[in-house]
């Protein structure tokens, strides 16, 4: 007699849990695996993979350390810890008033005092990742669309779409005009969404841009604002790199554009900010939404219950960011150092015969390797990327993972390593380019 053993039916997970919308199977993330398995180390592993795919700012750690060294009250609660009790119990989604005030001041300083920010319009989230997702939940319903200019940060595919069920429709930009957004491109994207029967709820721009490493010009910001007013949709300006512009005068925030218009139409504009890039503190998980729309502020605040910042962290940063002397010095010094790094990498790449997009901000440069492609396709780009990862041992981000419409562009980060390591990376690139020249000559 055959005894049938019933296999216990395995309990199922949700569609969200099994979906691939998190995008972590793309090359952007695959390169990280290669790095994790064989990470470069100045001393212990000089032949390892150098991580140039992570936009982290390590150039100004010493300034932070110095501050903490001199200000004990930030990392403790003082002798006898008088403020501790309230702090440990504080789970109010409004956030510490002193911290919101400090954030507002910091954001004002970054913009050279040209605009004012109201601390009561600041909603705190655990990182900009959460801020962008939260705004998407608030501004769009499942099945709706957001327009995003390409190339864009690969993480948006996950942050804006995964749990929200919202779609991204690209606003195509290309190298003919340095990847700037045009009114024609905006309209084309909008029409494209309509033809797919998608309701467009807003546009999300990153200014300064990731991966381009450049600021959006004032005239273009005005065009975009006119467009969203005309279509009656929202505008989210992710200004996470605003403090990382090499020259303060070159960055124009959407807040300034609004101020110039006396804040007419402001209720459709929302700014995302974070301390992960400018202050180099991604581990702290600090992000903010600044909205000119009362309903959005109220709702975002309630929704931030899912992503509150540790009160201890808020306390620490409130102390630090309220120190005017510290912030002034930090912003200025950080800019100078990033500028220096940028010049270093651009010169180094130029010597190797590689051109980059003219950049003026951020922790990376946008490198043009299209002359090196076997074929001017995404496939060709990925082949080249693989060679650079496995032979040259550099993890850089292929433009296709940023949805760039032109193959051959790569994002290269320069601020997450020491100057020495950057020199090593440039040497490797130089050698690689030399070898290719030799190969092509001998053909």
């Amino acid at each position: 007699m055959v005894i049938e053993i019933e296999k216990p039916s395995s309990v199922r997970l949700s569609k969200v849990a099994i979906s691939k919308t998190h995008g972590e199977d793309s090359p952007y993330f695959a390169g990280w695996k290669a790095y994790d398995e064989n990470p470069y180390d100045e001393v212990h592993n000089q032949s390892g993979v150098i991580q140039m795919g992570l936009a982290e700012n390590q150039v100004s750690f010493d300034l932070l350390e110095k501050y903490l060294e001199e200000h004990h009250e930030a990392s403790s609660w003082g002798k006898g810890a008088p403020g501790f009790r309230e702090n440990a119990l504080f789970q109010d989604y409004h956030g510490l008033k002193s911290f919101r005030q400090a954030m507002a001041n910091f954001m004002e300083q970054i913009r050279g005092g040209k605009v004012k920010f109201d601390p009561d319009r600041i909603v705190l989230t655990a990182g900009a990742t959460a801020a962008n997702e939260l705004l998407t939940f608030i501004l769009a319903d499942p099945g709706d669309a957001l327009l995003v200019p390409t190339p864009y940060y690969p993480g948006f595919d996950r942050d804006l779409r995964w749990r929200t069920g919202v779609k991204i429709v690209p606003i195509h930009c290309n190298s003919s005009n340095n990847f700037q957004i045009t009114p024609q491109a905006l309209e084309a994207a909008y029409q494209s969404a309509e033809s797919m029967d998608l309701k467009v709820r807003g546009i999300l721009i990153t200014n300064p841009s990731n991966p381009l490493g450049s600021t959006i010009q004032s005239s273009i910001l005005n065009d975009i604002l006119d467009f969203v007013v005309h279509k009656n949709i929202h505008l989210v300006s992710d200004e996470i790199y605003s403090g990382s512009t090499f020259s303060p005068s070159e960055f124009v925030s959407i807040a300034e554009i609004l101020r110039n218009r006396n804040y007419k139409d402001a209720e459709r504009v929302h700014i995302v900010y974070s301390l992960s890039k400018d202050l180099g503190l991604p581990g702290f998980r600090v992000g903010t939404i600044y909205s000119y729309n009362d309903d959005v502020v109220t709702t975002a605040r309630r929704m931030s219950s899912f992503t509150l910042i540790s009160s201890q962290t808020q306390h620490l940063l409130a102390c630090m960011l309220s120190n005017h002397e510290f912030t002034q010095n930090y912003i200025k010094t950080n800019r100078e150092r990033l500028n220096k790094r940028y010049d270093m990498i651009i010169q180094g790449l130029k010597k190797a015969g590689i051109e980059c997009l003219k950049g003026n901000a951020g922790l990376f440069c946008w490198m043009n390797l299209s002359p090196l492609l076997n074929e001017p396709t995404r496939q060709g780009e990925l082949e080249l990327w693989n060679i650079i990862l496995n032979q040259v041992k550099l993890n850089i981000s292929p433009g296709s993972s940023c949805h760039c419409s032109e193959p051959g562009w790569f994002r290269v980060c320069f601020a997450n390593m020491s100057e020495q390591t950057l020199r090593v990376a440039l040497q490797r690139i130089h050698k690689f380019m030399e070898q290719r020249k030799v190969c092509s000559v001998n053909r």
């Binding site: 216990p8 309990v11 997970l13 949700s14 969200v16 849990a17 099994i18 998190h22 992570l54 982290e56 390590q58 350390e65 903490l68 403790s76 609660w77 002798k79 810890a81 501790f84 009790r85 702090n87 440990a88 119990l89 504080f90 789970q91 109010d92 655990a126 990742t129 959460a130 939940f137 608030i138 769009a140 319903d141 499942p142 942050d159 749990r163 009656n232 949709i233 929202h234 209720e267 459709r268 180099g280 991604p282 581990g283 702290f284 998980r285 729309n293 959005v296 109220t298 709702t299 929704m303 219950s305 899912f306 992503t307 509150l308 910042i309 540790s310 009160s311 201890q312 962290t313 620490l316």
Partner: protein
């Protein structure tokens, strides 16, 4: 005076008892209030007729709906149906979210102010429930012995202030080194850069150890099965996203923690089906009731994906015993669904019963591990709600993988993790804290219960948590939610004490109130009693 505490004395053995299917039908006949429609034929009719009527009503409303975004299902007087609807087995919680989606399609584009999503417009326009209104009132006018003796005394927020001084003392001595150094040279580069979003491994190890300690070492937790989140709130939401699709449902025994309505349902579009527990059973969970609710949901075409239990339960303060947990596992296996066990108060037991974690149950049961997921956090047992540390503990690899990725939206802060690694690794401190905390909780509980009894207010015997679940039905003007809310209002505005009315917890019987005692000092108790006495007028 301290009662002898029940301590674990033996190692747990599997004592499974299968609940027979046949016993279920008989039980259905017995339970009161359901006598009208229960019984074999009545069960079918009693389910189908109201459901049919319900569907026709929905259909009718949808067809005739033409109001723009401004009118909404909630009005501002606090009558928000999603938090205060009377719990009835035959009605599911109406998802205000999916209902209003149709509204978004009707509002014309390019005219009027720019619209926000339908999924949140209800939240903006809707009023607050008593739960949130009460918290707000306390914030505006908080009691202070010296500075504001006429302020509102807080008994509506489950914070544990009783043992905060112990944590404070530890921090005063150790904080700085803990955050930045951990014994090494002070350095920001350890905590500043990107860390794994689901938490530092060192911290997971420390948390696993702590969880084991609070559960009296009856079970050990594997750090690799932990995903850390910014509080238990996102932990519950992440599990809800992972285990159910929009439109699916979880069974949740009532009365339950009011926050579940937000955590489980809001952004996920998942529904909660109330499974009423009754005072006759001391509000203990009944598997038969779960079974009934499951079957009714099935008939209505609602897919149930799991059960969410809280152990210790909030607000009733019950501990689920071994037998019930095994029965629950059997039930979940039979229906092929998940179990989420919210054990956030595991370390706050009152000493009269043993706490058994779901982890202990599946320790022996290999096959069903994949359906069990535990939620924990440091907000209650360690009194640190501000630091935002929550835990998802699961045996299911796929859930782990998904939850790890989702934790990026709700990650814990690195400096806070470093601080707590130090604290939790100080096992001597932890041991002292846990035992002192037990004593203080127990003492305060006993005093509060005694005070209430003197006024003729009886409460369920609590075995864990910060609450006293008290029956004030003798003092409400009408045996209804309205009468209950009237009393709540008087207690808040005349008596100046904030307590939580049972309707916020979806209790099916009116008149029950939740009193949280862990925010009080011993001096507060007589004042609280005095104020309550002032308000009470026995109803004939």
């Amino acid at each position: 005076m301290t009662q002898t505490r029940y301590y674990r004395t033996r190692s747990p053995e599997p004592e499974k008892e299968k609940t027979g299917g046949g016993g279920g039908t008989a039980m259905r006949v017995i339970v009161p209030l359901q006598g009208v429609v229960q019984g074999r034929g009545g069960l079918v009719l009693g389910s189908i007729i109201p459901c049919a009527l319900f569907y026709f009503l929905q259909f009718y409303l949808k067809r005739n709906r033409d109001d723009p975004d401004d009118k909404n299902e909630s009005n501002s007087t606090g009558q928000n149906p999603t938090t205060r609807s009377p719990s009835s087995e035959h009605l599911t919680e109406l998802p205000g979210l999916t209902r209003s989606l149709s509204r978004a399609l009707l509002s014309p584009r390019n005219s009027g102010p720019v619209s926000i999503s339908a999924r949140v417009s209800g939240i903006v326009k809707g009023g607050d429930s008593p739960y949130y209104m009460g918290l707000k009132r306390v914030k505006e006018d908080p009691y202070d012995e010296l500075d504001n003796p006429n302020g509102v005394i807080q008994l509506g927020l489950a914070e544990n202030k009783l043992s905060l001084d112990l944590v404070k003392d530890w921090l005063a001595e150790n904080a700085r080194e803990a955050i930045l150094g951990n014994g090494k040279e002070l350095s920001i580069s350890g905590i500043a850069p990107y860390q794994p979003f689901d938490g530092l491994m060192e911290f997971k190890v420390a948390v696993a150890g702590f969880m084991s300690q609070v559960m009296e070492n009856a079970v050990s937790f594997n750090p690799s099965q932990i995903v850390l989140t910014a509080g238990a709130t996102p932990a519950i939401e992440i599990l809800s996203f992972c285990l159910a699709d929009t439109g699916n449902a979880f069974l949740v025994p009532t009365p339950y923690y009011p926050g579940f309505d937000r955590d489980v349902k809001w952004r996920t579009g998942v529904e909660i089906i109330h499974v009423p527990c009754r005072s006759a059973d001391n509000f203990h969970l009944s598997i038969a009731a779960l079974d009934r609710s499951f079957n009714q949901a099935k008939k209505r075409g609602l897919k149930v994906r799991g059960v969410i239990i809280s152990n210790p339960s909030n607000p009733a303060g019950n501990l689920l015993n071994r037998e019930t947990l095994y029965s629950l596992l059997d039930f979940a296996r039979e229906k092929n669904i998940h179990i989420i066990s919210n054990e956030i108060l595991a370390g706050s037991t009152l000493g009269n019963e043993e706490f058994v974690s779901m982890a202990e149950i599946v320790d022996q049961e290999d096959t069903d591990r994949k359906r069990v997921h535990i939620v924990y956090g440091l907000s209650k047992d360690l009194s640190l709600p501000g630091f935002r540390v929550g835990v998802i503990y699961t045996f299911n690899e796929d859930v782990l993988a998904a939850a790890r990725k989702l934790s990026r939206f709700s990650a814990t802060s690195a400096p806070t993790q470093c601080l707590l690694i130090s604290m939790l690794s100080d096992t001597k401190f932890v041991r002292t804290f846990i035992t002192t905390n037990w004593e203080r909780l127990q003492r305060m509980y006993v005093q509060l219960v005694a005070g209430l009894e003197k006024m003729g207010i009886k409460s369920i015997k609590s075995s864990g948590g910060f609450y006293c679940w008290a029956d004030m039905s003798g003092f409400i003007s009408s045996y209804s939610e309205k009468g209950e809310v009237e009393l709540w209002d008087k207690l808040l505005n005349i008596g100046k004490v904030n307590v939580t009315p049972g309707s916020c917890c979806h209790c099916i019987e009116p008149g029950w109130f939740r009193f949280c005692f862990a925010t009080l000092t011993e001096k507060d108790i007589p004042i609280v009693m005095e104020r309550i006495q002032k308000v009470l007028k026995p109803v004939n």
